[in-house]
Symmetry: C2
Subunit: 514 residues, 2 copies
Amino acid sequence: MEDKAQVQEAIKVQGEVVRRLKSEKASKEQIDEEVAKLLALKAQLGDDGKHQFVLKTAKGTRDYNPKQMAIREKVFNTIISCFKRHGAETIDTPVFELKETLTGKYGEDSKLIYDLKDQGGELLSLRYDLTVPFARYLAMNKITNIKRYHIAKVYRRDNPAMTRGRYREFYQCDFDIAGQYDAMIPDAECLKIVYEILSELELGDFRIKVNDRRILDGMFAVCGVPDDKFRTICSTVDKLDKMPWEDVKKEMVNEKGLSEEAADLIGGYVSMQGGMDLAERLLQDQKLSQSKQACAGLSDIKLLFSYLQLFQVTDKVVFDLSLARGLDYYTGIIYEAVLTQAGMAPVTNEAQNGANAEESVSVGSVAGGGRYDGLVGMFDPKGRKVPCVGVSIGIERVFSIMEQKAEALAEKVRTTEVQVMVASAQKNLLEERLRLVSELWNAGIKAEVMYKKNPKLLSQLQHCEESGIPLVAILGEQELKDGVVKLRVVATREEVDISRAELIAEIKKRTSVA
Amino acid sequence: MEDKAQVQEAIKVQGEVVRRLKSEKASKEQIDEEVAKLLALKAQLGDDGKHQFVLKTAKGTRDYNPKQMAIREKVFNTIISCFKRHGAETIDTPVFELKETLTGKYGEDSKLIYDLKDQGGELLSLRYDLTVPFARYLAMNKITNIKRYHIAKVYRRDNPAMTRGRYREFYQCDFDIAGQYDAMIPDAECLKIVYEILSELELGDFRIKVNDRRILDGMFAVCGVPDDKFRTICSTVDKLDKMPWEDVKKEMVNEKGLSEEAADLIGGYVSMQGGMDLAERLLQDQKLSQSKQACAGLSDIKLLFSYLQLFQVTDKVVFDLSLARGLDYYTGIIYEAVLTQAGMAPVTNEAQNGANAEESVSVGSVAGGGRYDGLVGMFDPKGRKVPCVGVSIGIERVFSIMEQKAEALAEKVRTTEVQVMVASAQKNLLEERLRLVSELWNAGIKAEVMYKKNPKLLSQLQHCEESGIPLVAILGEQELKDGVVKLRVVATREEVDISRAELIAEIKKRTSVA
């Protein structure tokens, strides 16, 4: 152990760090971290009879309290209803995979994968997304067509500097269609699904950008980008939603060594946005039409828009040549949905407490996806391909927005669905209350009773107010004698005697959703 | 690399191991493991152009396919409805905790905890149950009363010899009531919940055994068990559901060094079963009534049964002095529900394929729980206690039974909820099909369309048969001209023309649950 005085001095200093952060209203995560250090220092002083647990969740993770869970359930219900409306099945996979299953799928991001400790046996890693386990599942079970959704948590050891507003454990909400089908039909359904979900969640106005990996590659080729620079130039283009063109160009030329001329040619293309008309115009473009790849992509965009017209969703979809999603495995169409109402930008608590402006600009993206025809083949012993297209809803951002909305509207979020509280104003009626609440449970009514022998009527009514229980069934000596229950409406305080025989029907009538 | 011929010989041998296991119909897990070894050997022969992934899930884990997910969803709905009927909120916690949060909570079982690799930062472990994270959550948020359920996966690195029929990743389904309340009221509600859930799941007849940690300890004291042997003798008593008394006694005397006399005294008590009457009789028992602890436990059992009578569940509840659940943290009442119909015993696939008889006898337990008044205090810096009582449903066993039932009844488990398939008998009607299916989606109808330009009618109808879609909306030139759709009932092949304006109402009418 270190010298005691030294530790005490360190505790003093660390205590001031914590106080300063609190007075500066720093992020909860940051404060928790410094408090943890403080507690660790205090622990060095030896056991003084107190417990020395560091009471926190792991860095980058959080608990969901009942209010957050109520919002989460609502969001999930909307999304799952949509997936089911489109005929999707669901599967589940383990939270960890063999390490080698994830190897070579995420490029540079592989360093963010959580590994399990080698405790003897296989080397395991926590899943990084749901797409790779899905591809592994298809190859392992030799499934060549399926329409499935999968909602589950994934894990990324994101760099602390990047964690503002991002979690290390978070939900993904994926819908994918695997199978050899005619072009653009499943792709169009994925976009229809994004449109439906974002409309139903009422997150404010949105736009869905689409592009195609083949158009990007064709564009780079005709603009004179060397083959081995496609990916790195692509990732620079991807920054156009956060940086002005001038800065993007600078990065291309100064950092990535592209010629000014090539950069300017790219600049001409990536500023283009439109619909089917733009695809048609580009098919006539002297330069771009020289690329077979680009033409194939452009023809598919045209076809896609014709289906989107039938689905009546073209008002929100825009063909945007600057869209360049990062993941390597995309082979065809790619898309991303962004919220366009600044007021509803999903800034999370952490981001509010000190994220820099650059980071908060890009949080508008709430869904993304694309076609990945090669991934399943990477798992098949014979390399057999299963074409896939899918979409992932950025559900954590949706949660944040919904939480903020609920807070902004001072909306009372109910965390239970209790319809009636069985109460009494007099003493010694516990048994009668238990008998009645049991009757209600048996009839399928959501009911509660206080776990006290003689609770005060006021505290029973207060509980109803606090947790939004609409009805109280009050028992007293007189009611028991008369074979009735006093049914009280919490909101209006109106009370009416109902015979025991009719009570259940009456409660059901009053609490049925009209 | 090893000598090539040597590796080829090893491949030959290993290939035979796999073939033998397959012919013996060994467990899937065992075969997978040996296949993995085979593939690893083959990989040593060097890259021959083929992929060398070992296509499997981590040992002790499994994927859920759509059929299993459909069953799982049904079971969860029943359980969650019950929890909600009793007014529970829900929370969620991260899949991993700080390692120290789990330290010292599970006794010997701590060796089964999965640790994460130290990749810099905190030391983390996967959660082992939901009870410890719940206690951590309460202490961390200073919550002194809550009624919550939590359904999530937990992780245990169970010894391979023990894994037959058990998974390393499995669901727990917990309901707990935390708070300082009058004795036995929340405890009785927990038992009522077990009763409701097991009845609604229709798993066959069941019994709920109850006992009390204080009665056990009091019994050990009056029978002359030394204080320091309470826990180890308790764990021997716990084996009474798998071993006859003679063997249990032998273990007590020969292995644990208890006197014959003490063992016989214990034997007299642990053979007792009954209801409130037994508790009353034991309160008069000359020996046992000398223990204050035992008397407190017996009085509570009496009180509990009086509440269970009001809840009308005493037909399935039995006070059983041989019940001794393992976990250290129980402080009062304990209980366990077992299925009593041998035919419905939840033997999983793995267990069928080679578990020894001893292990398959005990798989009847489908729920368990008890009171743990000290656990939250272990996390509180000031040791403040929050009394808790809870129950955990052994959901994996329930899944197994439901899967077996579905298989035994050759029941067709639907994996989607699609109500109508939009089809056509003629060519070139893709656009019309897409337009119609989009109308249906927008009206909230669950609908599908085949992703082909010109699918055959037969294959469209076959898909309906296979996936249980009840209706087909058929479009043809004539129907389009007449402004109608041919609605076909898949089961009866009956067809009727419905005007486009009335189609949605007609589909809703026909698919509404009566």
